[in-house]
Structure formats: C-alpha cells, structure tokens
Amino acid sequence: MCNCCNKDSKYYEPFETILSGFRGVESELIPILQKLQEAYGYLPEDIIKRLSERTGIFVTQIMGVATFYSQFKLRPAGKHSVKICFGTACHVNGAETVAEALCDELGIKLGETTPDGLITLESVACLGCCSLAPVIMIDDEAFGRLTASKVRQIIRDLYEKEGKSK
C-alpha cells in the first residue's frame, strides 16, 4: 500500500460521507464499494486500505469481492465509457465484426483505455435492447443497428466533438 502521495484532505471527504451512511458490517460491503466507485470512478488502493482499517474487514476479503464482480474497477477509467454488447441477439447480428471495427478504430483491445484517457472500451453480456442489435452504449446513450462502418463514424464523431484528433 502506498501512502506517499499526500492526498489533500478533500480527497477523503467522499469516503467519510459514504461511510457515515453505513454500519460497516460485512453484508454492506458490496453497496459500500458501489458507492465508493461512484464517487471515485474506480476503487483506489488507498481507499480500499482505509475501508479495511475502518470496518475491520481484511484487505484480502475486500479485494476478493472487488475482483469477483465485473462492476468493480481497480484502475481509473477513461472520460467516456464505450460498452459493446455481446448478448445473443447482438452476436447473431454481427457484434463481433462491430467489436473488431471498434478495437481497430480506437487502437486498443477490449477492457483497455485509450492512451489519451478519452475512452474505455468494455464488453458487456447484454444491454437488454435486443431489438436494436447490434448495440453499443456510449456513457448512457445507446446506438443500435450498427455496422462496422457506422461504428467507426460514431467514434470519429465523438473525437470531433471532443476537439481531439486520433
């Protein structure tokens, strides 16, 4: 655990606010981690350590839970999240081709973040809007009935909107 980074006092404010709403017992571990991730964008190492100190739940146990569930992130994510759906309906309608085009366009693999920190690309099991298959979701917006060329254009548009070049 690293404590050399001298976080300013404000850094731990969300942590304190969140923990004050819980008793700190084991059955609350998942909701606590969900709230912490919501506030910090991921689960930073020092926050996990502090959580362990506060609740008495071992770091190993917290890490066990944090790594078991796919929702929890241990590294900061990009500014935008791009999720590609690999549900059955998307699969039979060509999700793999769309995914290849996405990876190629962004120059990263699934689960990675672009070097400029703009986009994190993830795969999800099902977004549940099967009639729009194949689907990707950028932040909270779904884009449906995609093809390889459409998805490339969507990414180019996103970069243009951000005023960045790839």
Partner: protein, 589 residues
Amino acid sequence: MKLLIGLGSCGIAAGGMKVRDAFTELSAQNPGIDLVIAETGCMGMCYKEPMVELIDDKGFGTVYGGVTPEIAKEIFEKHILGGVPAEEYVVAKSDGGGAEGSFISKQQRIVLSRCGKINPESIDEAIAMGAYKGLEKALKSMTPEEVIAEVLASGVKGRGGAGFPTGLKWKFAAAEKADQKYIICNADEGDPGAFMDRSVLEGDPHSVIEGLAIGGYAIGASEGYVYARAEYPIAIKRLQIAIKQAEERGLLGDNILGTGFSFHLHIKQGAGAFVCGEETALIASIEGQRGMPRMRPPYPANKGLFGKPSNINNVETLANIGWIIRNGAEKFAAIGTEKSKGTKVFALAGKIKRGGLVEIPIGLTIRDVVFGIGGGTVSGKPFKAVQLGGPSGGCIPAELVDTVIDYDTLNATGAIMGSGGMIVMDEDNCMVDIARYFLNFTQSESCGKCTFCKIGTKRMLEILERITKGEGVEGDIEKLEYLADQIRRNALCGLGQTAPNPVLTTLRYFRHEYEAHIRDKKCPAHQCKALIKYEIDPAKCIGCTACAKKCPVNAIEGKAKTAHSIDQAKCIKCGTCLSSCKFGAISVD
C-alpha cells in the same frame, strides 16, 4: 385524451425521450387542448420503438410505432388536433386493427397485463388496474396455508428456468420453524438476450412487490429482498419509487392493511456476476461475499440468507401471484397444457422480423410464436433454429417448429423452457459458432469453485475454438461429448451442470455442421472467418468502386470501370464489400 409514451429501456435507447420532449413542446404550444402526456413501461413491440399510444375519451387506444420527433408533429396535427388517425404510422388499435395487430392478438397477458398501460411510477394507476387486490384478499380472508394451497392448485412453476412448482417451494419454507425467515426475488437476469424481468420491473414493479408480500405472508417471512442487476438502473429506480409508495399506502411495512401482518422490503444491487442467479450464490452475494454457490443440501428453505430459512422466486413467478390469488387458481390453471399452467413471457429477438416482449398461453407451438407473432425471419431467409434458455438451454431446429411450448415437451428436445430468452436464427448463423459463443459466456462466468466447471468448460471451449478456426481434428466431437457428460453430472451448481447444453443440442441436430468444419474445413453458414473467403467475379464486376471505397482495410484493388480484386492477405472478412455490391459480383465461400 391521454398520450402514453413507452419509456422502458429499449424505448429510451431507441429515442423515446426525444419523442416525449417533442409532444410536450407541441402540447405547450397548444394550451387549449385536453391532453395528458404520461410515461409508461415496455409496450412489447420492441421492433417498433419508440412507441406511443393515444387513448381517446372513450378509452379507445391507437398505438403508433417508429415515432420520431417529425412523426410526432404529424400525429399531433392529424390525430390530436384533427381527430383523424395518422394511419401510416398506426401499428395497432384497441379493436385488434392496425398493421401489426397480429403481434398482439395471439398473446395472453397476465404478467404483462399492466405493462405499457400504466405509469409505473404511479401506484394509483396500478391499483386502478387491480394491483394489491390479491394481497388484500390473502391477508383478510385466507390463512397462510390456504394461500399456499391456492398457489399449488394453480400449478404455477418457477419461471426462472428450472420449473419447480412454486407452491411446493413455499410449503417447504413455511414448514420451517424460525424466528426470522426471508423471501427473496431473484431479479439477477443474466442470460444474454433476455429482458423479461427488466421489462416487468420497469413496467409494473407493483406486481412483483405484491407477489413478495403474499409470499412473505404464506411462508411466514417479515423481511424480503429484491436482488436486482446493477445494470438495470431504470428498473431499480422504479422499484424504489414503487416500494416507497406502497409503504405510504400501508401496503408494505408494519401492520399491513390493519391485519397485523408486517413485511419490509429491501433492494440489493448485484455487481455483475452471472453465477449470482444461482440461489446459494445469490444469498452469498447479499451477505456481502463473493457470489459462489455452495453444496445443497442444506437448501435455502432450511438454511438460507444469514442462516435462516429463505425462499427465492424469480420476478415473473412473483408477478403471477397477485393475479392468481385475485382471480383464483382455477382460472389460472385453465390456461396452458395438462402439466404446464398459465402463461410464459418470452423475449423474442435475434433474426426476427417483429422482436419484442411477448406473453403467450403455454401450449402454443414454436411456429405460432416465431411466425404467427414474430412474422418469421427479418432477412426473409429460411428459419434455421431457435435458441431457448440462454447459456443453460439449447437450440431447437426448424424441423421441430411444431414443438409445443411447455416444460416437458421442450425438455424432451434437449432445450429447456428457460427464463424466456428466445433467439431466432436464420441460415446465415453457424451452429458451431453459437455453441462456442455460449460456452465462451459460461466459461468466463464460471466462478472457479469446482473443477468440472472451471476446467471442463475451458477444455470444451478450446476444442470449439479450434473447430471454428479450421483446426479441428478427428475425435473432437467425441471429446466434446465426453466432457459434456462429465460436467453435466459432476459440476456443483446449475451454471456448470447446464453449461454443456448448447453444445449437446447443436451436436444432436447439427452434427453435420461440426463435421463440415472438422473434415472439409468449411463453414456451411459462411460465418467462421478462418474458413471463408470473399471473391470478386471479374465477369460480373463493372468496376463501380463502391466496395473498394467501403473496405475498411483497403484490401480491394482495381481501377474504375475495370474488374476489382481482393487482396486475401489484407482481407479481414468483415463482409462490408458483399453488402455494398449492387451487382452480385462478390461471393463468399
């Protein structure tokens, strides 16, 4: 007049919010008109989203589909202001008319009876359509034993997939003596391609709350949990609102309806683990641990959440309960086949013309659903198979299209009723690839606790991957069958025990496709990229350059007005050229 706007997840994804804003703005510009704009959940016709329903003062509804802000303006001017329906956008009418009327007319709605009709955030609208009447009847005029007897008599079985009789499950939990018991709603809908539970929670959360409260009364539980996927934010929000409203009305909480029965309901959000749909894993997850299944017995009915007797039911199962108590078991049991009663909700998707959420009386055939309701394949190409039950289920081939949809008949095909995912496939879908797809899913979701699942599915996946890459060898099929049998018999939980099903059913009905991959190094459906090749017929190519412009990797060469060719070394086999050629000059083999 009342205008309902379908704002389930898929309605929103398709642009429903923009449509709502357009109508709101139009309404504000015409202050004199009598129009109430309300939100509702899923209307079922996902393929026509965004949808709106205009209900006139006599209660006659006209449903519009594929609405955009521009079409909204037309509907507003013609129908709302002018009184004449904008027929070209009408998909259904109250009297069964409309272009898509046959999508609805074959359905029978119990679970979805209020979905798409009420504002899910208004308890008054739910109550006006019968919500909580079953709870009132149970608490005021029935003993817990009578409630269980009624549910048993209805014949309702668990809709999550396993099909265990709900009344029997309740009886076991009721028989336990304990200071505290729990009833849990399993809303961890994880099958890819399934969205039944989400739609029910988004469209009519009160039906699930009512089912839980009745179940709590029946088994003697004063605490309940809904374990919902974190990926369903709208469902969770609407459920939170519904619980609060029910508490305010005295339909949840202490001393419900003055009967002395108390029931408190909590929501627990999952964190993304498919295995948590298994009941002992779900319990571990609520307790704050890694969601790993444990050996049964003891069953949750004896030793469940926090070590107390617990009963777990699926969303759809619980949504039936209020209806059953309100209308009586006999009326429910009149629907369905001899051994499978009631209705079943399916999420119809894949290569289907009219995909969406359908609720059918059990006993229809696959043909009735795929062709009668779904309108056949969207491509117009021959129907090849339907996949039921997601990663635990199997593929039923076109020749068995007249199979009756009930628990026993479906089990006999090797598939299962499942939780309700129904994915339609046409001749362009490779069945080996489908098997690989599902096994890849279960393998990555395997919790890693037992060897048969953790390593067995990994080995099966490796074999399937090499087959789809053209590297399959003689003996692979037999090896798959051996592993499948071992995993089925020895895995710890339902996830592992059913994981081989997609492989076994495709082997049963489409063995020749496996053999073509292994022996001839061909993919008959032209899906497996390592086994296909795109080529341009120089006699048919006129050199229009359309394909060359679209090719994402510049693999197509040739001057304008002369025949083009594909550089096979560069080609990524994405199929873009094939779909861009207007002259049929590109073929795949």
